[in-house]
Structures are given as C-alpha cells and as structure tokens.
C-alpha cells in the first residue's frame, strides 16, 4: 500500500528555559495514512495533534524519530508542492485582496501566471467567495477568512490536504460545503488529513481515524472496524401485533416497548439479520429496523477515558 504520511517513533519534547521542565508533546508516534483516504486525526486538547501537524509540515523539528510524506522527506521541495495546509489559528495579510492573496500563495507554490489566472477564480467560486474576490481580507468575517484559507490550501491542486479545524468558524451551511469539498477531493484521489473536534463531521467524511492521547496513538483504523456494533435493535412496526411480539421474544430480549416501537437485544451481532427475517415471517410490516451502532463520539470518549 502507498502511504501519504508515515511516521516512525516521531517524538517532540519541549524543554523549558534552563531545561528544568520537559513536556512530551508527541511520544513515539507511529502513524500511517493511506493515499486517497480521508483521515481523521482526533484527540482531546493538548493531545499533540497540532504539534504533529507542525512537524509534518516542517515548522517544528522533531526531537527524535522520523516521518515521510509520500515516501520522501519534507526537506524535499517536490514533496512540499504536493501539500496544501489550512492552519487552525491563522490570520492572512489582511491588506491584500482575496485575489492578491491567492496569487501570492500560488506564486510561492511555483504556479505560473497562466495557471493562476484560470485557477484563482475557480477556487474562489468553489469556496463561495467569487463575489468578494477584490475585497480586502480585513473586511472578511472569520468564516469568510476560513473559506479563503481553504482556497489557499487547495489552490495548487495538492495531493495531500491537511486541514486543522477547517470548520471551527463556519455556520452549518459552510460546514456542509466543506464536507462536500472533502468528499469531492476524495473522489479525485486526494488524501485529506483532517483534525477536527466536530466528531459528527469527521464520522460523516472519514474513512480512517487515529485517536491521540498523551502524544501517542491509542486507536487507529477504519471507522467500520473501530465503531462497535451493539447487538441492540430499534424497531418500529406499522401495526403492533402480539404474534410478532411473541416471535421476537422467542429469539431476543425486549428491553423496552412503546406502542408500535420496541427495542430488542439479541445474543450477538450475527443474530440481527435473523431477527429481521423473524419479524417479517411473523407478518410484521417494518417501518424502521435500526441496529444500534457506537458513534465516533462514544468511541472517542471511551478511548480517552480508558487512558486517563
């Protein structure tokens, strides 16, 4: 498998002045992010997420360990051209217009004038700022600045896009736009490395996640693997029937009942399809049959609490 990001015992220790105190921000981090994946990088505040991102971008130097981006060092300028980044806390040169700012960043990335003339209006349109192309950045709201930050990150069509809290200043519509954008990037084979506290957003777009705690990866894997499926099912019928309920009770424990709705617990995850068949065979008309699944938030809380 090709990896967009690989870290090998990546460690960052901050020492206070005179080296009296040491803070281990990232502790022997081993991470593998497959190419073309939307990867959620999660963790509570102070877990070392931003330090890791800053190391991956060459802004912070590791104390020990190493990492590779597309199999190469970050010192390689060719690799840097393949990265787009939206920082969490940022402020742009606010006396420039949106267009000027994108031209500046595009030129820095090595884009030629011809490509920029085409690409700048395109990305401004993509992030919904084309009407404000000639406005100065200082006139922009925080949400608009965040959109401009995203435009800056995808302007040069990078293969790896690192987004650090991309929706923190956005309204629900803006969040949906960013979600669509991430899915669009994924459909084009791009790798998205997403750091966000909005777990519901992450759950909707990510293929894989890593949960960081105390500078170490506590869990990493595909969401379908990490999120446990409970053997509990919420059912709603068109009409309540004692025959159906008896059939259900024969193979499951009914936890709660409320009119045409009930919740049943089966022995294991494998019994869930059998329960559905049993209800239909007993003559029940199903409106809803929803196995309960652990949410990313549940997993996050569980992992963080396990390591407290």
């Amino acid at each position: 498998m090709d990896w967009a990001i690989e870290t090998f015992n990546l460690t960052k220790i901050y020492l206070s002045l005179f080296r009296r105190r040491r803070l281990v921000a990232v502790d022997a981090l081993n991470l593998k992010v497959p190419v073309g994946c939307v990867f959620g990088f999660l963790g509570p505040n102070g877990a070392g997420k931003t330090t890791t991102i800053m190391m991956l971008l060459g802004c912070v130097y590791p104390t020990s360990g190493d990492f590779r981006i597309f199999g190469r060092s970050i010192r390689d300028m060719g690799v840097r051209r393949r990265i787009g980044f939206l920082p969490e806390k940022f402020q742009f040169h606010d006396l420039l217009t949106a267009e000027e700012l994108l031209w500046f960043h595009g030129r820095l990335t090595g884009m030629d004038r011809h490509t920029l003339a085409r690409r700048v209006p395109e990305v401004l349109e993509q992030v919904g700022l084309s009407a404000r192309a000639r406005s100065r950045v200082r006139e922009f709201s925080k949400g608009m600045q965040q959109r401009l930050g995203i435009a800056q990150a995808i302007l040069h069509d990078p293969d790896l896009i690192i987004l650090d809290e991309p929706t923190s200043a956005l309204d629900p519509l803006g969040r949906r736009d960013v979600r669509d954008l991430i899915l669009h990037l994924k459909s084009r084979g791009k790798t998205v490395f997403l750091n966000s506290h909005l777990l519901s957003e992450v759950e909707m777009v990510c293929d894989e996640v890593a949960i960081l705690r105390g500078g170490r990866v506590q869990r990493q894997g595909g969401l379908d693997v990490l999120l446990q499926v409970h053997p509990v099912v919420d059912v709603e019928l068109v009409e309540r029937s004692e025959g159906v309920m008896q059939a259900v009770r024969a193979m499951a424990t009914v936890i709660s009942e409320d009119g045409t709705r009930f919740t049943a617990e089966v022995g294991s995850e494998e019994d869930i399809p059998a329960l559905a068949r049993c209800i239909v065979q007993a003559g029940g008309d199903l409106i809803r049959f929803a196995p309960r699944r652990e949410s990313l938030e549940d997993l996050f809380v569980r992992v963080v609490e396990e390591h407290e």
Partner: protein, 275 residues
C-alpha cells in the same frame, strides 16, 4: 530566488498600504514649511551673506536628522513585526510549508523593509536637494551623498531588529531594539561626560559601545559627507573633540560587516527555531 522577491514585494506592498509613509510625508511638510519661512526671513535680509548661506545648510542638517530618525524608527517598526508578529498571528504557517527555505523568508522580509527605507530616503534626498537648490540658487550634487549614507541607519537598526524578531516575541523585540538604539545613542553623551568630568571608565564604556551597535561610525560618516557644503564651524557643534574624526575605511567596513553578520545570524536563528 522567486520566493525572496515575492516576500519582499509583499512586505513592501503591505507597508505602503499601511501608510507608514504618511508620517514621513508630514515631517517633509514641516521641513518645507521651515524652508518657506526661512526663505521669507532670508529675503528680508537679502544682503546678509551669513543668513544666505546658513539657512540652507541648517535645512540640510535638519532634514538629515529627520531622515535618520524616521528611517530608523520605521525600519524598527516594520522589522519588529516582520517575523515575530507573523508567527504570533499565524500568518507564517500558511507560508512556511510552501516549497521555500526559511532563509528566503528572512531575506525577503529584509529586502522588503530596506526597499521601503530606500524609497523613504530617496524621497528625502530629492526634497533636500530641491530645498537647498531653491535657497542657495545653485545645484549641490553633494546633497545626494549624505542621505545615501543616512540610509545605513535604517539598514543597521532594521537588520538588528529583524534578528530580535527571529527569536523573541513582538513585545520583547520592540524592547530589545529600543535598548539597542539607546545603547547606540548613549555613546556620544557617555564620551562627553567622561571627558568633561574626567571619568575614564565612562570613556572606556563608550569605546566599547561603539562596536556593539556601530551607529557612531555612521554619524561621523554623515558629518564627513555634509562637510562638503556645511562649513566646519557649523559642524563643530555636532562633533566632539578628536573622537569625531571622519571614520576610517575599516570602520565603514565594520558597519557593513556588522550588518552582514547580524543578517546571517538572523537567518541561522530562524532556520533552527521551531515556529
């Protein structure tokens, strides 16, 4: 190379849009006002040769002092925000991951700040040339030389402040650059007090200070350049005894070497630090 010019032009563009030049423009209006009043006064005493020659020369001395002060303060202001403030505000994060080296960021900032200082100095050189030309009735090409030496003031203080900006916070950078300017400025009064009150320690400190921030070399160089059109007896008030001799070639070389070393140090520190 392209990254350096892009950052330099961005720095210059931002500086122009911040309208820092308005302060310089207002100061120039004050000088023009002074010239106008002086010209009126001189016309009343049109037959007095001393008045006729003194007024334009005072204008030149005054103008150069203004350029020294504003040029240095502007360069320090710009340099203090160039790196430290951009890190604090997160502006540099969107730049540093791009395919460029950190030395290009420092050099770009340095060139941008100095380009503004150069524009400011050129503006003042033209203004002083025109003022002296109008008042003395003839062209003095020598009036171009002193302002060009004065340009080294913002170069010196801008570079030093840029070095502070690579490792300190904005507030600390400003404090350090003010201390550096204070150290440089204190040399002359320390030497004068030392000589007048015969305090050898003070003279020794002054002798060392001139190497820590070599502003005095520049001051003496400017006096040397002004001597072409300003009579010695007028410069005497600005000079102090034998120490105020024109700087030797190696002293001028020391200033250039000092700026180069400080700039290299800024690049080295910024290269090594976490952002």
């Amino acid at each position: 190379m392209r990254a350096i010019w892009l950052i330099a032009s961005l720095t210059l563009k931002e500086t122009m849009r911040r309208r820092l030049w308005v302060a310089s423009l207002l100061a120039s209006l004050a000088v023009v006002g002074f010239v106008f009043v002086a010209k009126l006064g001189a016309s009343v005493r049109a037959n007095d040769p001393i008045v006729q020659s003194v007024v334009p020369r005072i204008t030149l001395i005054l103008g150069l002092d203004v350029v020294k002060f504003f040029g240095s303060v502007m360069a320090m202001t710009l340099a203090s925000g160039a790196i430290a403030l951009e890190i604090e505000r997160g502006m540099l994060y969107a730049v540093l991951y791009k395919p460029l080296r950190r030395y290009q960021v420092v050099l770009g900032k340095w060139i941008g700040i100095l380009s503004f200082a150069l524009l400011n100095t050129l503006f003042w050189a033209v203004l002083l040339y025109v003022c002296v030309r109008l008042m003395m009735g003839r062209a003095y090409w020598e009036t171009w030389r002193a302002p060009l030496v004065v340009l080294l003031y913002p170069v010196l203080f801008g570079t030093l402040t840029l070095l502070f900006s690579t490792f300190a916070s904005t507030g600390l950078t400003i404090a350090l650059s003010i201390i550096a300017a204070g150290v440089a400025w204190s040399e002359k009064p320390m030497r004068e007090f030392g000589i007048v009150f015969d305090i050898e320690t003070l003279i020794n400190v002054a002798n060392n200070v001139r190497w820590i921030v070599p502003m005095n070399h520049l001051r003496r160089w400017v006096l040397e350049e002004m001597a072409v059109i300003v009579p010695e007896r007028m410069l005497a008030s600005q000079r102090f005894q034998a120490f105020e001799t024109p700087p030797g070639g190696w002293e001028i070389g020391y200033v250039f070497g000092y700026v180069a070393v400080v700039l290299l140090l800024a690049i080295f520190v910024f290269q090594k630090r976490d952002v």
